[in-house]
């Protein structure tokens, strides 16, 4: 009962085996990781499975960026401000020590209570947030600190001021900035990977997704409103555009799935952080072995190759 997902993953595996990558060790690491992912997929997710991911990805007790940071980093120093207009609390940035190395973190941040949600604008950033992100990414680049981005946003904020401040241009510029960084970049979609607001900080060398995260070009509700002319058809829309981790892996959009504690990450933040830390550590170990030129060459090749056409 091999699913489509399994078949496509097997196809990627066999392709990878035939590609002459830089180092044998790297290659076998890559294969091993894919093999592990393959083992996790037993069947195509159902409409209910997908909707459960949507609900878990948005769960109010789900660990957010700072929940992971406080569990995984020592000597954390948060950096504020875009050096031009403001400090957008929907995106946090800073540096800290992760497993002995200094790592720069950029991540969306939702709020847990009503007050913090308002302050963090539900994790929906203004251009100021992306400009802060870019500024801190360039700091990482200057000192060759690896970059970890944690993606968790319903989307970039759709407001008048956000447009006046250049939302589209900021999202484009942030991606362009990431492509030019001479440092390893690990991006993890830890909750909602909502559209342009998500990809703005997700141009990594390794892109991972938490098991119950979603990653999509539009929200299920938005898609349903436009295509079904009925926002309540969100579940049907989600099933159609498949924002769950298994499908994203199958499509080659992500490189791996970070397991969550049974029941979902919200049930055990410590364990969720341990599992995320392990995946990030593994990815960084692999990436740090690559020369900078090769790293940025592969990063570009990775994103250049995405898409299916005839």
């Amino acid at each position: 009962m091999a699913s489509d997902a399994e078949l496509r993953l097997r196809e990627r595996l066999s392709k990878l085996k035939s590609i002459n990558l830089l180092g044998g060790a790297r290659l076998s690491g890559e294969l091993e990781r894919l093999q592990k992912q393959l083992d996790r997929i037993t069947a195509e997710p159902t409409e209910d499975d997908i909707w459960r991911s949507v609900e878990l990805a948005r769960h109010q007790d789900r660990p957010y960026t700072l929940d992971y940071v406080e569990r995984l980093f020592d000597d954390w120093v948060e950096l504020h401000g875009d050096r031009g207009r403001g400090d957008d609390a929907a995106i946090i940035s800073g540096l800290g020590r992760f497993q002995g190395r200094t790592v720069v973190v950029v991540g969306h941040q939702k709020g847990r209570d009503v007050k913090e949600r308002a302050k963090r604008n539900f994790g929906m950033a203004y251009p100021e947030g992306y400009r802060k992100a870019m500024r801190v990414m360039k700091l990482a680049d200057r000192f060759r600190f690896p970059l970890l981005t944690l993606v968790d946003t319903p989307g970039a904020y759709p407001g008048v001021a956000a447009e006046q401040h250049g939302q589209g241009g900021a999202i484009a510029a942030s991606q362009a900035t990431m492509l030019r960084l001479g440092i390893p970049i690990v991006s993890v979609v830890i909750g909602e990977g909502g559209s342009g607001g998500a990809i703005a900080i997700a141009v990594g060398d390794r892109v991972l997704m938490s098991e119950n995260a979603i990653y999509s070009v539009i929200s299920p509700e938005g898609c349903a409103a436009i295509l079904w002319r009925d926002a309540s058809e969100a579940k049907k829309a989600a099933a159609a555009f498949k924002p769950d981790a298994a499908h994203c892996l199958e499509l080659g959009v992500i490189d791996g799935i970070v397991p969550e504690p049974p029941g979902g990450a919200h049930t055990d933040h410590d364990e969720a952080a341990r599992l995320l830390g392990g995946a990030v550590q593994e990815a960084l170990d692999e990436l740090e072995a690559l020369p900078v030129d090769e790293l940025t060459r592969r990063r570009r090749a990775r994103f250049r190759a995405l898409g299916v056409f005839a």
């Binding site: 989307g155 759709p158 295509l227 159609a240 995405l306």
Partner: protein, 281 residues
């Protein structure tokens, strides 16, 4: 959680030419009515009031490229349907219909051309093909335009007109943002300049990727260029929007574009830029 979740605008009414009930050749600003051949001769600009009608990709290319200079590339490329996407109708059916209605294989046409004698690469979008939405094929063709420009040492001129990412391709549509941005980065590394012309409308994923990354950004008068469309912004914020919300004129004021160039002046303007850039490295 009640927050809005839409931020890429696809096929929404406010991204399309407004007031669908009106004949498309009737000027929405002054209600003058024209025959197709009149508008084509006038570059689809209202002779009475200067309103810029949407311009189809082939007409646009004819208006910019020197006669007979356009050599199309990747014309055979078509969208696939990786998700077997089915909403009220299958994606495949929408694609087939768009091809029949527009005579185009996709929402973008690319190729080499000369503008006032200056060779360049053109990448021109067509809003009539599924709202100019960007799926894998559009992203691929734009990337190939960059690669062709780099290979031949040519500048790239793009003309965008798009409602955003094509949601029928799900997450792969979103991935066309970084994909086209990679292509622009490679183009820049090859030393080629890139001029991005933003026509009405350039919104969502296209504004949030290549269209914003030109060395020079030129908007057409009145063009909507916003990441989120006016309808979504209004629904989300419940604010009264400024009259020129997201329009080229507001974007110039807020520092996001270099110039607003009326269509009849666009070819000489681009030719001037090409001459200037030809003196670079």
């Amino acid at each position: 959680m009640a927050e809005p979740r839409i931020d890429v605008q696809v096929e929404t009414p406010d991204a399309a030419p407004k007031d669908e009930k009106q004949h498309p050749n009737t000027c929405p600003a002054c209600h003058s009515h024209y025959r197709n051949d009149e508008l084509e001769a006038a570059l689809w600009v209202c002779a009475q009031c200067g309103h810029h009608f949407p311009m189809r990709a082939r007409s646009r290319i004819a208006s910019l490229a020197d006669d007979g200079s356009f050599a199309e590339e990747a014309a055979e490329l078509r969208s696939d349907d990786p998700l077997d996407f089915f909403d009220l109708r299958p994606y495949g059916e929408r694609l087939a219909e768009a091809e029949v209605n527009t005579g185009l294989g996709e929402a973008i046409v690319i190729g080499r051309a000369a503008v006032d004698g200056a060779p360049c690469e053109l990448a021109v979008m067509d809003f009539a093909f599924m709202g100019g939405s960007m799926g894998s094929a559009v992203g691929e063709k734009f990337a190939r335009a960059c690669e062709s420009a780099a290979e031949h040492g040519l500048p790239l001129i793009s003309v965008s007109a798009s409602g955003g990412a094509r949601m029928q391709e799900g997450i792969l549509a979103l991935m066309q943002l970084p994909k086209t941005i990679v292509a622009v980065a490679d183009l820049h590394d090859a030393g080629s300049p890139y001029v991005s012309v933003l026509a009405h409308p350039t919104t969502g994923g296209v504004l949030a990727s290549f269209a914003s990354l030109g060395d020079v950004l030129v908007a057409e008068p009145g063009a909507l260029m916003s990441f989120a469309g006016p309808r979504v912004v209004q629904q989300t914020t419940r604010e009264k929007l400024p009259d020129d919300f997201g329009r080229a004129e507001a974007n110039l004021r807020f520092g996001h574009v270099d110039a607003i160039v009326p269509r009849p002046e666009l070819k000489p303007y681009l030719a001037r830029l090409l001459r200037l850039f030809a003196n670079g490295k």
